[in-house]
Amino acid sequence: MAKQGKAAVTVCSTAFLTLGRAQARALGNAELPIAVIPHPFGGRTRDEVRKIAEQCAADIAKLVSGASS
């Protein structure tokens, strides 16, 4: 999508950030914006997930505006 000129952000957890960055480089998009959420995710309470989601949404907005500027 980024190559088509559309704003693209990947969301990934801390445990997979190394993989995400390496794959972005391997696929020719080293600058791919990645919004990072803490790992693990599955055992969290609804309130914790809400806080993470709110922070993540703010991070995505920041990355999208950065990517499109």
């Binding site: 997979f16 190394t18 993989l19 390496a22 794959q23 391997a26 696929l27 599955g42």
Partner: protein, 351 residues
């Protein structure tokens, strides 16, 4: 060091086994064991066993999508200690792992311990002495040990799946060093694997399987019905990727167990049907989270899942795969699989 696109780099190194191995260790180009230095002469000797061009790209290997050229496959084969005539098996295996049905991206980058198991069939298995009998997935046979190791090095060095970096396996498993055997076609009550999968008996093939591990089943049962029951009960474990996703469970049946089925008049299809039917597991046996995962994965296939739904391990009985291998004894092996993957078979060419 010299490099060109899709051409292997060459570098000068001291003519010293220990020094060369230090380089491989520092650069993470090994699996943690000493390697055979891939000198130009050794790689050239390997390449004489294929008619394919040195720089032909056989496949791109996820997750790094490095180009698996014939030359790079040969280099990794030398590193692993393969005899030069093993090369065509590795070229076919490399093609096979890159088939989309195999889901190499998932297999390489997952937290699951999944290893790639090679099953060799046909004349090439006998010519290269790939062990199909005693200790066939254990140590001792050069071809088994080095073919499986070479594929792992291809996946790591060309595909970039270094542990902790792009290989995210939580624990991994010993089969990630090497996992390779042949099928015992000489003492086989049914069609061997490659014939079942559409090849001629005289074809040579290699099949790649995303294997989560091995679970030995030692049973002295002498009755087909009872044998099927205990095997089916072995399959039923709640933290299973196969039940969650609808998988493709594999079995290495020892010839004594296969003979029990044969004497009862069961063909391979009947064994598969019996195992599939008897291994259905009530959804309530899964954890709440796994039930959610199974619903996300299998509702389209099975409809709404209730606590009482009997979950089959795979979409159909045909998804269960059986080979015959191993020495004498009352043992067979259940090979639970990754779930989101299907085995792929390729003909071994220009051997």
């Amino acid at each position: 060091m010299s490099t060109e696109p899709d051409r292997a780099a060459t570098f000068e190194a001291p003519d010293d086994f220990d020094a060369i191995n230090r380089i491989y260790r520092e650069k993470h180009w090994s699996d943690g064991l000493p390697v055979v230095p891939p000198t130009a002469a050794r790689v050239d000797a390997m390449l004489r066993h294929t008619q394919r061009g040195r720089h032909d790209v056989v496949a791109r290997i996820a997750p790094g999508f490095g180009a698996a050229t014939v030359e790079r496959i040969a280099i990794n084969a030398v590193l692993a200690g393969c005899d030069p005539e093993y090369l065509p098996v590795l070229i076919a295996a490399t093609e096979a792992v890159a088939d989309p049905a195999f889901n190499l991206q998932g297999i390489q980058a997952t937290t699951n311990p999944v290893a790639v198991w090679l099953v060799v069939n046909g004349p090439v298995a006998r010519r290269l002495q790939v062990n199909a009998t005693f200790n066939c997935i254990g140590q001792g046979a050069w071809a088994n040990a080095t073919l499986g190791r070479a594929l792992r090095l291809i996946l790591q060095n060309i595909g970039g799946a270094l542990p902790g970096a792009m290989d995210r396996a939580t624990h991994g498993q010993p089969g990630k060093y090497t996992f390779c055997c042949a099928e015992n076609e000489e003492h086989h009550p049914w069609q061997p694997l490659h014939v079942e999968r559409g090849f001629a008996l005289t074809d040579s093939t290699v099949t790649v399987v995303g294997a989560e591990g091995t679970m030995n089943m030692n049973t002295h049962a002498k009755d087909a019905d009872e044998l099927a029951r205990v095997i089916a009960e072995t399959m039923m474990h709640p933290p299973s990727n196969e039940y969650v996703h609808g998988g493709e469970p594999w079995f290495i049946l020892g010839s004594e167990h296969a003979e029990i089925f044969q004497r009862a008049g069961w063909d391979k299809a009947r064994v598969k049907r019996e195992l599939w039917q008897r291994s259905k597991m009530a959804v309530r046996q899964l954890s709440v989270k796994e039930i959610d995962r199974a619903r996300a994965s299998r509702t389209g296939e099975l409809g709404e899942l209730s606590a009482d739904t009997l979950l089959p391990i795979s979409p159909s009985a045909d998804d269960i795969q059986l080979i015959i291998a191993g020495g004498p004894g009352t043992h067979s092996v259940y090979v639970p699989c990754f779930g989101n993957s299907r085995a792929v078979t390729r003909r071994v060419g220009d051997a």
